[in-house]
């Protein structure tokens, strides 16, 4: 469903991604790992369409469409969802109202009728039970005064409401304790099915104990330098990123 070819991108003239190639098929979970500054979050932002980033080369195809041609809201309409590393606060806007607007805008994009208040509430109740999230959180202003864990759970709840085809989790585990990680991961696992895919961007292996990936890719210096099965994540955990760096550097010298 997602095919990234030779993707080059950067910000303010600084080249960060230097030729990414990646193929994601429906039903798969891919983990993107790598040391700080390797370009993980840049990849997530470029896929979601953040305008600060400039794509200088390469292509991204999503479900047969040229993703890079689409505005961020159209990408969302097509089924791309980004769970933010730092979810944004909007004071005075209730989380429920925000999600209702999002759900109906996406429906509009897909040529579906908007949900009325009753239908929306029914859907929300359903997903609240699934995600084990309380009403009180959803009545509050969007992300305002939320704890780190609440913000991330709210991201996953939005994912549940929007039912994306490709969910990108950008460092969703950062700043969470182990219990919060488990709750968030459970949420993601409940949403997995054969038709959707998940791209987990993470620095640490610990999230992957709970969201088990089919493939692990190591991003270093703007390129995927190593790909493998879930065991690769364990190896990284054990040996640190240095062994990858050494391998890459040796390769370049040779």
């Amino acid at each position: 469903m997602l095919t990234i070819r030779n993707l080059h991108a950067g910000i303010e003239g600084k080249q960060i991604l230097k030729g990414i190639n990646l193929e994601v098929r429906p039903g798969e979970v891919h983990a993107i790992m790598g040391p700080n500054g390797s370009g993980k979050s840049t990849l997530a932002s470029v896929l979601a369409g953040r305008s600060d980033y400039e794509v200088s080369n390469g292509s991204v195809e999503f479900l047969g469409k040229d993703l890079l041609e689409l505005s961020p809201e159209k990408r969302a309409g097509e089924g791309i969802f980004l769970a933010f590393q730092y979810p944004i606060e909007i004071p005075g806007l209730t989380t429920t109202n925000f999600i209702k607007t999002a759900v109906n805008e996406v429906r509009k994009y897909r040529g579906e009728e908007p949900l009325d208040a009753v239908q929306f509430l029914k859907l929300m109740k359903e997903k609240m039970a699934l995600m084990e999230i309380g009403q009180s959180l959803l009545s509050r202003s969007l992300n305002e005064g939320f704890s780190g864990g609440e913000k991330k759970r709210n991201e996953i709840f939005q994912m549940a409401m929007l039912e994306p085809k490709l969910a990108i989790l950008d460092e969703t585990d950062s700043g969470l304790d182990i219990d919060a990680i488990r709750i968030v991961a459970n949420g993601v696992n409940k949403l997995r099915n054969k038709d959707n895919a998940v791209l987990v961007v993470t620095h640490y292996q610990r999230l992957l104990d709970h969201i088990v990936p089919d493939f692990v890719h190591v991003l270093y210096n703007g390129r995927i330098v190593k790909s493998g099965k879930k065991e690769l994540a364990l190896e990284l955990e054990e040996r640190g990123y240095d062994f990858i760096k050494n391998e890459v550097n040796e390769g370049q010298e040779a």
Partner: protein
């Protein structure tokens, strides 16, 4: 009368601008002109002009004297220069002070209103047909210098409520008018109030008798249509003991390259245990993107909580006008009285606003609450100016003020000028202020959820203004929310 139709300028979107800066290209929906013959005073201001207006309205001698006194005082006054706004000097001799649509027959009832005028108001979303009207809202429709009709007069009359144009009130209820007119805003109060007193032409008068709760919203819709004219209206609301009224005003004007002056005076009087809720949705033409044209909105609004336990609440949504200069205030004279001021002021392009309130605590145990939300975009300038005064006899006075500013882009300005004068040690006065920006990251977050940028801006500003918007009467809250979004249309894009 010269008539032109002004087309809204085409939107030009410059790719060089950041997304937020681009949001500032709004179009004004109410900029049309109605072609109608007008009965006008000659241009310029002198005693003759005042006599002309007074004679047109067949006013009693005392009214003419009152006007002339105001005029003579005005001649000795100087235009205020302290507001944080800039404009070229106004030539007061270049303004037409009276302009009324010519009507062959004076309409005896609403059915006889000139169809062209009726259509004008319908185009503005104001139906003068009582059957079609939003139930629960009575309207007084004012165009240029005169009121052309008031709906639901009979039904209100059965309860003893008087709701009519000021001209009619002077004719039919002279005792009430003489008793209360200029009792809150003296004719010598300030430059624009004195000018208004000299030349005011119409406005609304509401009188709620003892113990009556008005069963419907009373509202006045002000429309400027004629060219080169100024609109000077006068509104007076008196709420007798134990009564309640909710009143709303709305306003629009055609798009013109020249600035037009609107200098109104509003006075509210609340007696023992009475409550007046006054809401404004101000949408005068703000001028074009380059700052040409637009209304100068120089308005004096003041209420007095004269009786014990009385309450006056001002709510304003200010989106229009090239320049806004107004400070709806409350004199808290009665013990245990309450004053409130809720304001959302939006400035875009080259608009300037200097607005706020004055809460004058004179009585004991008086309370006031100020919530001001300023939203600035484009090259505009938005100032909050407020005074909380606690008199030496006003024991246990309480005030809470919250002034928040939201900026869109980096070429606009937001300023806060809070003045606090406390002469009684038992007073408790609190002031909070914040300034924030709509960030690209907020917009992107919404975009990523499938929400386009215009809708995202609307969500963000309505969230910001929520505390004020929920004070508006239900019928108008939705309209006002849309208006906020439209005023900033294109300021992020």
């Amino acid at each position: 009368m010269k008539t032109e139709v002004f087309q809204p300028e085409k939107q030009v979107i410059d790719d060089e601008l950041s997304t937020i800066e681009r949001a500032v290209l709004s179009e004004y929906k109410y900029g049309f002109v109605t072609e109608i013959e007008a009965d006008e005073a000659p241009k310029g201001l002198n005693e003759g002009t005042i006599r002309f207006i007074s004679a047109k309205k067949k006013e009693p001698e005392w009214m003419l004297e009152w006007r002339l006194k105001a005029y003579r005082h005005w001649l000795k006054m100087e235009e205020p220069t302290w507001p944080n706004v800039k404009y070229d000097p106004i030539d007061y001799q270049d303004i037409i002070y009276y302009s009324a649509p010519k009507q062959n027959v004076k309409p005896e009832s609403l059915d006889q209103i000139d169809p062209e005028l009726r259509r004008t108001f319908e185009k503005l979303g104001i139906s003068l047909d009582e059957q079609k009207r939003l139930s629960g809202v009575a309207v007084d429709a004012v165009i240029d210098s005169i009121s052309i009709g008031t709906t639901f007069k009979e039904q209100l009359g059965e309860l003893g409520i008087i709701f009519c144009s000021m001209s009619e009130a002077i004719q039919n209820h002279p005792d009430l008018v003489r008793k209360y007119l200029s009792s809150v805003v003296p004719i010598t109060d300030n430059y624009f109030a004195a000018l208004n007193s000299a030349v005011f032409s119409d406005g609304s008068f509401c009188y709620i008798p003892k113990g009556v709760r008005s069963p419907m919203e009373l509202s006045t819709y002000f429309r400027i249509n004629a060219e080169n004219t100024g609109q000077f209206e006068r509104t007076l609301i008196v709420a007798e003991e134990g009564s309640y009224v909710s009143y709303l005003e709305g306003c629009t004007a055609p798009m013109r390259d020249e600035n037009q002056l609107h200098a109104a005076v509003v006075e509210l009087v609340a007696l023992d245990n009475a409550e007046i809720k006054y809401s404004t949705v101000q949408n005068w033409y703000p001028g074009n993107k380059e700052g040409k044209g637009g209304i100068y909105n120089f308005v004096t609004k003041r209420g007095i909580c004269k009786g014990v336990n009385s309450k006056i609440s001002w709510t304003q949504v200010e989106t229009g006008s090239a320049i806004t200069w107004k400070y709806p205030s409350v004199i808290l004279k009665g013990d245990n009285s309450t004053g409130e001021f809720y304001s959302v002021a939006v400035t875009n392009n080259h608009q300037q606003a200097d607005t706020g309130t004055k809460m004058m605590h004179l009585g004991k145990n008086t309370k006031s609450r100020i919530v001001s939300k300023g939203i600035s975009a484009g090259f505009s300038n938005n100032s909050y100016r407020g005074l909380v005064h606690v008199n030496k006899n006003a024991s246990n006075a309480r005030n809470f003020s919250q002034c928040d500013s939201l900026l869109l882009g980096d070429k606009c300005g937001a300023h806060t000028f809070p003045y606090i004068e406390v002469k009684n040690n038992s007073a408790l006065v609190e002031h909070e202020a914040t300034t924030s920006k709509i960030g690209e990251d907020q917009i992107f977050y919404c975009n990523q959820r499938g929400i386009d940028t215009e809708t995202a801006v609307a969500l963000i500003i309505n969230g910001f203004a929520k505390e004020v918007m929920r004070q508006l009467p239900m019928e108008f809250a939705v309209e006002a929310q849309k208006l906020l979004a439209i005023s900033l249309e294109g300021s992020v894009g």
